[in-house]
Amino acid sequence: MTTLLSVDRVSKAFGGLHALSECSLSVEKGSITGLIGPNGSGKTTLFNVITGYEKPDSGSVTFEGTEITNASPNKVFALGVGRTFQITRIFARISVLENMLVATQRDEGWLRGLTRSKSSKSELVSAMEWLDFVGIGRLADQHAGSLSFGQRKLLELAYVLVADPDVILLDEPAGGVNLTLINEIADKILALNKDGKSFLIVEHNMEFVMNLCDRVTVMHQGADLVSGTPSEIRSNPLVLDAYLGGSDEDDVEDAS
């Protein structure tokens, strides 16, 4: 397997807080990679660095051999890296279908948008296909703002998929979602993975991560602690320490 996305010793500080310190990670082509770690270990910051929302202080990010370390979010997306957000973000005051159409152009020139209509026939067809795929096709004409929390998660997944990215970064896809929907989302991810999409998933639901992922990376205090298969991770004592705060250093921090 070849490496699709690789993060090499990335550091990022916000003032005195070192959100990331020399963090490395790689996503193999066609894999589902899990990213776990306690709250505040830098998972979301790492996502922001990869997708261009934050500029790292040092280190590099490469996607299919192209360096994307300081690329803007639209550039990163155009190359084929899609993402969802931990707090779901959709366009509330336009319809569900229009939400899908925002994402379909991927790398169209900005002037082209002036001369073309909102949608072409083929874009409408594929937008509806993806909405049906996640199961909210019947809501296409509604305002996206009227969707429930779970439906918004599905919409966000659908409009990332409509642009056909090669790797999809999911930030807590199962967070705050009921059990039936969690299983549904897991099924969708597996189906998409069979079709060749790669995933990088941040998730706190261990069962979800362990069942789904080929490899898991554990982050702790802004750095990658260990990587391995789910069973290796489960039996690794370092991971338990990171989660339960077993090390001396953490005790000192807690006391202060």
């Binding site: 997708t51 261009g52 929302y53 803007s72 979010p73 639209n74 990163v76 997306f77 155009a78 993402r83 957000f85 973000r89 959709i90 366009f91 509330a92 005051r93 336009i94 229009e98 159409l101 925002v102 994402a103 152009q105 991927r106 790398d107 169209e108 900005w110 002037l111 082209r112 948008g113 002036l114 001369t115 073309r116 209509s117 909102k118 949608s119 409009y159 990332v160 642009a163």
Partner: protein, 330 residues
């Protein structure tokens, strides 16, 4: 029913075309000219600020640049005052667009509320420049070549030129709303960062929209200068203009197509009428202000959105009523 809607557009256009032919009193056709200028400017303003959510409170910059372009060019190019200056109106619009590029490059670096403050600041820079530079004539203003038309027919060409600007701005706004570009503006309004993460080149889109919206506003300013025959910095770079344009759009319905047209039609014609009616200046402001407060209190999304919701509610009630009747009959 899109066809019925088209009929309404044609009826409205027909009424506007016929107005100066039926009502020939210059007092009222003058109100008509001002109202149409505001309708065009508000529609154009809404095409950027309404769609993208970036409330520009410095649109008088474009208006003033249009007015000064018209005045300076007619003076320096020695126009005779036979009406040829009407051809300078689009030039005024283009000048406003050229000015919009550097203004946008500065103002659009920041988001939302900061953007509003920056646009106000830039507006005052322009107003002070117009007052202090010598080529603008300073506070004494500038005169345009006199147009020696008879009073009875004087207003008509201005009226139809203003109507042409309104039609142009409306068609452009309509086209933008239907284009991918317009969808991107709406996406920026709802969540700019998310839009960037879906491949939208947000800065280029914002700057393009900002610059495009300057065109009709600049044309409005140019027409205004030509209509009055003289300009002063405090009247063409007027903070009241900035606020009026925004309020008219909000009053009618921000981000809707008909909202700014309706808002400007009601507010500007009423303001002009009340100003004449209560010749003692400030009374009309009280009526004006109260009406505005009522709208904001009871229809915060504007008249157009309110009426739309009211109609769909009453339709739902009718359907419900019909179901009850049908239930009783069976």
């Amino acid at each position: 029913m899109p066809r019925l809607r088209n009929v309404w557009w044609l009826v409205a256009l027909g009424a506007l075309v016929l107005f100066p032919l039926i009502e020939t009193n210059p007092t009222y056709t003058t109100i008509g000219v001002f109202t149409l200028i505001y309708m065009g400017c508000a529609t154009s303003w809404n095409m950027f600020s309404g769609y993208s959510g970036y409330i520009n409170l410095g649109s008088a910059v474009f208006y003033g640049v249009g007015a000064y372009t018209m005045t300076l060019l007619s003076d320096h190019l020695n126009f005779a005052g036979n009406g040829d200056q009407f051809w300078l109106i689009p030039v005024g619009g283009l000048a406003a667009m050229i000015v919009a590029v550097p203004v946008g490059l500065v103002a659009l670096r920041v988001r939302r509320h900061t953007f509003v403050v920056i646009t106000i600041a830039i507006f005052f820079v322009f107003q002070l420049s117009a007052i202090n530079f010598s080529f603008t004539g300073g506070t004494a203003g500038l005169q345009l070549p006199l147009i020696p038309w008879l009073e009875t027919n004087f207003n008509k060409p201005f009226y139809y030129a203003a109507l042409a600007i309104v039609v142009f701005a409306t068609l452009l706004s309509m086209a933008v709303r239907r284009s991918r570009f317009g969808l991107q503006l709406l996406a920026i309004r709802d969540d700019e960062d998310r839009a960037a993460g879906l491949g939208v080149k947000v800065f280029a889109v914002k700057l393009t929209g900002f610059t495009m919206s300057a065109f009709a506003v600049g044309m409005g300013g140019a027409l205004y200068a030509l209509f009055l025959g003289q300009i002063y910095p405090q009247f063409v770079f007027n903070p009241i203009f900035d606020i009026s344009i925004a309020l008219m759009s909000i009053f009618g319905g921000l981000g809707t197509l008909t909202g700014p047209l309706l808002g400007a039609l009601v507010l500007e014609s009423m303001q002009q009428y009340l100003a004449i009616r209560f010749s003692n200046g400030a009374y009309y402001l009280i009526v004006f202000g109260s009406l505005f407060l009522l709208i904001v209190l009871f229809m915060p999304q504007g008249i157009v959105v309110y009426l739309g919701e009211w109609r769909s509610r009453s339709k739902a009630r009718r359907v419900e009523g019909a179901l009850v009747v049908a239930g009783e009959a069976s």
